[in-house]
Subunit: 380 residues, 2 copies
């Protein structure tokens, strides 16, 4: 980081252009207040996050901005988990120390839209299968690929940011929702994990070949990650199945690395099992301590992510009726104690307390911390 920062700073003549670690040194231009010229970086909240690229005071948005968003509207958890997962996979290949994040600049909205459409006479580049005419859930060709997103990872060469690598995420459906007539009922074609994964891996080869045709993408590593979307009724997003790191110049995927990611909603529903019964019972002890705190029952659920049998983190959601600010303050203090006592240690956990009026308070703890820090949302 230090080296990168110095490099960029040296090059910043006459522009003030500097990266910053942990906000110690500000990356803001000290020049004009309303429009900053040149390239800046966002600054870095912590060493585990990439800095992002700002051009003339504006964030460099994705060239296909919004395409994924629309695609994913069925289950909003998918969007966040897809993009966060792409960042996590990228961190395995492009370190946050040496690379800067930039939203995808090489695949345009039109390109991504055409690739996501079905293959047809008018759209020869479609990655989804041709429409075979059937309206039967089991006989039709489903839409396999629901979203495709590009993320760019920049390095510093001769005082300028330049492309150091690209990550492409391919999201396949677990359920393809379709209508037989416009505005009609919604039907479902289920896609098994094996079928979806195989389809995505085949498409990944096509995508890699096509990307190599762009001169800027010829000689950089391209990571491709395959994601399986959760169904629309899921209370949690999907997970990544596999990724490949394709060396500069390679035009077909040589090797896939499997990912053993699984998401769970706590409390585990009857009949289902969690990968680790200790975590499940920790959570239910916490839940029973917390749900009866007020005369009105508070709802306590959690999203948990596992890598194999190892818990990776938890998002706890508590919903409660809002009566008074002092109740929320005291509830939050109580949660701080109860969470430390009952919830699994050694993993990042956050807890949000919401009412119909929106979020009321929030607690979190990183993997290495012992105590939860908390914040009660307030108003003058």
């Amino acid at each position: 980081m230090k080296r990168l920062r110095t490099f960029i700073a040296l090059a910043a003549v006459p522009l003030f252009l500097a990266a910053c670690g942990n906000l110690g040194s500000s990356s803001m231009s000290s020049g004009s207040k309303t429009s900053t010229s040149g390239t800046q970086l966002t600054g870095q909240s912590n060493d585990n996050d990439y800095e992002g690229v700002i051009q003339s005071g504006h964030y460099t948005v994705s060239k296909s901005r919004g395409v994924t968003n629309t695609q994913d509207s069925g289950n909003t958890y998918n969007l966040k988990s897809f993009e966060n997962g792409m960042l996590s996979v990228s961190k395995k290949v492009f370190s946050t120390k040496n690379y800067v994040f930039q939203e995808g600049q090489y695949l345009s909205s039109t390109t991504v839209q055409n690739w996501l459409d079905r293959k047809s006479k008018t759209n020869s580049v479609g990655l989804n299968p041709v429409d075979n005419g059937s309206k039967s859930a089991s006989k039709r060709n489903p839409i396999y690929i629901q979203a495709l997103e590009e993320q760019d990872y920049m390095t510093q060469k001769n005082g300028k940011l330049s492309l150091g690598g690209v990550t492409v995420g391919i999201a396949v459906n677990s359920v393809d929702y379709f209508k037989k007539v416009q505005y009609g009922a919604t039907y479902e074609t289920k896609i098994t994990q094996a079928a979806g994964e195989a389809y995505a891996k085949k498409a990944a080869n096509t995508v890699l070949k096509r990307m190599r045709q762009k001169s800027a993408l010829k000689n950089v590593p391209i990571v491709i990650a395959v994601y399986r979307q959760a169904s629309n009724d899921s209370l949690i997003g999907g997970t990544f199945l596999a990724y490949s790191n394709n060396k500069a110049g390679s035009t077909s995927v040589a090797k896939w690395t499997a990912l053993n990611q699984k998401n769970y909603v706590f409390p585990i529903s009857n009949g289902a099992s969690s990968p680790n019964s200790n975590d499940a019972s920790s959570f239910s002890n916490f839940k029973s301590q917390v749900e009866n705190f007020f005369p009105n029952l508070s709802g306590v659920t959690a999203q948990a992510q596992y890598d194999g049998k190892t818990l990776q983190g938890m998002h706890v959601n508590i919903t409660t009726q809002f009566y008074s600010q002092t109740e929320i303050i005291n509830f939050t203090q109580y949660l701080q104690t109860a969470a430390q006592k009952y919830l699994p240690s050694g993993v990042p956990i956050d807890i949000t307390v919401s009412s119909t009026d929106g979020i009321q308070s929030f607690l979190n703890r990183t993997a290495s911390e012992k105590k939860f820090s908390s914040h009660v949302f307030n108003s003058y």
Copy 2:
């Protein structure tokens, strides 16, 4: 605190009953998991907050729970600012080190409701004026007192929590909203600050006298604080005008201490002025740096509280369209740098970033910190 903790711990035979500072020592019962017997405290997030009282695992809710809430539904900012302000006033008299917070246990819902009603043949205890029959905004007797709330402050005596003092907040209207016919249009009777304050101070004497009639309240200090509600169209809550600290046994208010609290919404609207032009220009520099970060304009406003000409703190609200998680992550990193650079230092500031999907991220800094810490809300 230390002393209090030891006292309570000593007394906790056979119950486990202990206060705790900063979560270092847990106040949770180590006994039964689902129902904890005896008195506990919530634990304390930081030295500036009171701990709260838990009885048999349940929070000790106010005996008049919900009455204020209903009263205040016109402007939800009022409720939070009223209760937080009562805590702030209380801290001037009852230190967080030596007192424990308990929701009001001496004034019941019925009592508070009757006091808040108009005086009438059937309700001789009403603190609001008799209905003079007029429907004219300027001739009718308005409802002056909109809310009344009790907070109890407990100390430790002979190993048991006992009442150490009480704070009563009296909230007067700046505007009394009324209807001439049921379900009809809403009309307004404006109440000047002077008139509202005078009315509340007179009522305070009555309240004090009545409270002294309860044996438990005879010999404890009773703090009475007068609050002026903001109008329903305000983007900020009301403020406290004055408080009195009435010694044990006293039945009439001897002395009022004026409070010079003022709330402002930034950016200051045209023609209006803020108590400190530096703060206002700091905020607008921050705003112009931030609002053009994305191609879609982000809305940036703030609530600021002043004591005289001195800024006490700021709640900044940023609304932005939600496109992607990576945008929010980078925006938040950028805000961290920009907020540190532009926003006034030495006061507590928090910043929430929301979209139509709810809160996306959050930053805050205490008065003594230099750097903002941040959290991006996430999902698996």
